[in-house]
């Protein structure tokens, strides 16, 4: 990894989950503009990552009893997603999927309580190709649409089985409109708090009356499943007036319609929300925080420009992300390491930096929970709090301890790599090797001195295998567990 392009690493930390050696070679041969394009135009890269699960040379997975079943076992689904974060050749697709997961934050547990554990995993994580009822789970839908048009994503979310359970849309009926989805679709998914009124919430609930679930298919062959249905008999047909424009002509009222045509209410409303300037700004702000910079105030120039790109391109997220990844704000020196890594980012990057051969992503799940992030289980519909909230004392300990267990797991690989790189002759050579392999936010010289002192502690340097197998994981533990490494 020595001598690699720091710009490309910065890009891959943001648009992906860090850089494997092969990713560094691939993208390192490109200009930053070319690399950004290649990341955005990921459709050109075959999506074969899932077929690699269980193959030698990749990070492992652990299955106790039965087959690997991410379509019905949430633990397996979590392992599959971590596997993709490490090994996908479409890093931006995985990163955007995580962004949308946080944006449309839906939690497995409530669905498991309402249906069953296996059903909840199915509606969150199944791929249509592996489900007898062709169910596509929410995260798979988001993955497929990761750079689609926002209004399409929003409509798909409104009809998503897991979402209809999570925010109770399945029980939204004419006689008793259910406000949960109606509120959050404005507060958290589109225009943001402060841009709608309480009476808008009641109107939005009425818009989605009858957006419920049905259960077709056969129990015998496993194809029986819940899916969206527009239940005309449960739709409230009167007009719905909002405090903001729903239509391009400025119209604020969704007209009264027959029950048969009433599904159009929701489509009109979703299109109105998706094309609302406040939605453009709300998304641009979140993208700034997630991809560009978490420090200081939000850059209003960026937000205005990206919001404009969003509106001019009909909410096409591919156009938006092309702008984000080429924005001067991302490439400004102040943006380097100006984000607190999410636990998923930290874990995937540590695996890419330290090594994965012989490690199972299953052993990252409990540590990630202690770090504050369980995939498919955001704390609530507003997603993870992120930023400094990731860095409570116990969460920081969990990061240090994960660094410890991964470094210990990789100690032979680490020692071998040091020897191969001719970095075993002195403690300083070994330290230089690992400081280069595990790129961190700039370390104060006093920190580097402490690391060096550690390598010198407990006896003279011999460079023996035993010493390399002790000191390499020791110093990797300290670097990956350092505050500086927690930034991306």
């Amino acid at each position: 990894m020595a001598g690699s392009d720091r710009q490309i690493e910065h890009l891959l930390r943001r648009a992906g989950f860090g850089a494997r050696p092969d990713e560094l070679s691939l993208y390192g041969a490109m200009s930053t503009t070319q690399a950004a394009s290649a990341l955005v135009d990921y459709d050109a890269t075959p999506d074969t990552v899932d077929s690699k699960i269980g193959s030698p040379g990749y990070v492992g997975t652990t299955v106790t009893g039965g087959a690997f079943s991410p379509q019905s076992n949430i633990n397996h689904a979590r392992q599959r997603w971590l596997f993709r974060m490490v090994h996908s050749d479409r890093p931006l697709q995985e990163k955007m999927t995580l962004f949308w997961h946080n944006h449309f934050a839906t939690g497995y547990n409530k669905i498991a309580g309402a249906l069953s554990a296996a059903e909840a995993a199915r509606y969150m994580a199944a791929k249509a190709s592996e489900d007898p009822g062709q169910v596509r789970g929410q995260i798979e839908m988001l993955r497929d649409n990761a750079l689609g048009r926002f209004k399409d994503i929003l409509l798909a979310i409104a009809k998503d089985t897991a979402m209809l359970v999570w925010l109770d849309g399945r029980t939204n009926t004419k006689a008793k409109p259910q406000e949960n989805f109606g509120r959050e679709v404005m507060e958290l998914f589109t225009v943001g708090v402060g841009n709608y009124t309480e009476s808008d919430v009641y109107a939005a609930a009425r818009v989605f009356t009858g957006w419920n679930l049905q259960r077709p298919g056969s129990a015998a062959d496993g194809s029986q499943h819940y899916e969206f249905v527009y239940n005309a008999g449960q739709h409230e047909t009167t007009a719905k007036t909002f405090s903001f424009a729903v239509y391009p002509d400025g119209g604020k009222t969704i007209p009264a319609r027959s029950a048969a045509d009433g599904m159009q209410d929701g489509i009109d409303f979703i299109n109105g929300l998706a094309s609302h300037p406040n939605t453009a700004r709300y998304l641009a702000t979140k993208l700034y925080r997630f991809f560009v910079n978490e420090f200081g105030a939000v850059n209003v120039t960026f937000v205005s420009r990206v919001a404009q790109v969003y509106l001019q391109n009909g909410g096409d997220m591919k156009a938006v992300m092309r702008e984000v990844l080429q924005s001067p704000e991302l490439w400004d020196a102040s943006a380097y390491f100006a984000r607190y890594s999410w636990p998923a980012e930290f874990v995937a990057r540590a695996l890419k930096d330290i090594g994965w051969s012989g490690f199972s992503v299953n052993d990252a799940l409990t540590p990630m929970s202690n770090m504050g992030q369980i995939l498919y289980e955001p704390p609530d519909v507003s997603g993870w709090d992120a930023g400094q909230t990731w860095f409570s004392t116990s969460a920081m300990l969990a990061r240090m301890n994960f660094a410890s267990s991964l470094a210990g797991n990789q100690k032979f690989n680490l020692a071998t790599a040091v020897k191969k790189a001719n970095a075993s002759s002195t403690p300083e050579a070994l330290l230089a090797y690992f400081v280069d392999a595990l790129v961190t936010a700039p370390m104060d010289p006093s920190v580097t001195v402490e690391l060096s002192n550690y390598l010198h502690a407990n006896g003279a340097w011999t460079g023996s295998d035993a010493q390399l197998q002790t000191k390499s994981p020791g110093v990797v533990h300290l670097i990956a567990g350092s505050p500086e490494y927690q930034f991306v």
Partner: protein
Amino acid sequence: MKVTRRQFVKGGVAAFTVTFAAPEFLSDLARAQGAHVRNLVVLYLSGGNDSLSMLAPYNDPFYASRRPTLAIPAGQVLQIGTDSSNVALGLHPRLAGLKQIFDQGRLAFIQRTGYANQSRSHFTGTDIWSTADPNNAQGLGWVGRYLDSLPSPVDPLVGWNTTGSLPHVLQGHTAVPAIASPSSYAFSSPNSGAEASAERATAVRIASHVPVDRPELAFVYGSTQAALATLDRVSTVASYRPSPAYPNTGFAQALQAVAGAMTKSIGTRIFYVTTGGFDTHSAQNVNAANGAYSNLMGTLNDGLLAFHNDLKAQGLLDDTLVLSFSEFGRRISENGSGGTDHGSASVMIAMGGKVKGGLYGTAPNLNMDPKNPTLENSNGDVTYETDFRSVYAQVLDSWLGTDSTKLLGGNFRKGGIGFI
């Protein structure tokens, strides 16, 4: 994602104390000599508690008519008397333990607590209750501000947050460790023996080089330093084995750790615990034995009762105040999903050996008369009677012995709710 919330630190940890003198372990002796400390346990009921199902005005005819499936029948509630407006009130049937504590005069309910134009958003609502500032709900937490007001150096273990991440109520310039489980709060190493010791010593020394000119990085240094500085004291709590054992819920286990920290006298005075699942939009099932709301009440009751009994046995009940809050109450009328939507004013609970138990404030009248002063939002929601900051004021003034007007930015003291 609360973007503005992150800005709260802005160099805050630069003030983090690098050299804290470890407290002297005199508390056991002091306690044996009759000294008392004052512990505060802040309890957050996450999701918006339906207080009408917790403390039911069971004789109000509109209670039954507006909640055809959710109202608890008069014959099922645990009757605890009438409030000053002569409304008969009863606890949810699953709150038998709380009734015991109430009967012993150590549990207070403060009814209709809230604020004007109450937010129905979980997130804004929680921010407001956490900051005690409806006008600037992105500021520091009210308990965080209290910790910041303590004379330095502040013990890095003065607060103990039993959840994995920092709740807004504790946000301040004083770092509060998050210790979800004392037994896993430890430093591991890929090596053993002298090498493991060298790693830990190095980590401690690295953490001492706080980069004061880089506030975001300094924040992470602050967390690292606080973790390493508290590990050994926290590990003493892991060995706490109360008898009888606490229930095996996350909530009760957190309370057990709190009791352990008090018993082992490790210096912590402010604790934060939470129990969630109160966002009961559907299938609230107040009356079924294992219904959703019954389970919520069961968790609350069993955890608090175990905690109460443990503290009482340890002679610590008089040193402890538990204060609950939730972001809002719920809509009065049930919805079509057998649940309740986001509402307004709610009920706060205070428990402790120095609490003057009883029913404070008055219950809402649930009738649909447009002139009904106890309701708002077209009679859909309960109007607040006591500003929640008046409750906080009393805790700050009468329990923590500080000046509430400074910490709350105004005088919210109010008569008639003297529960401490």
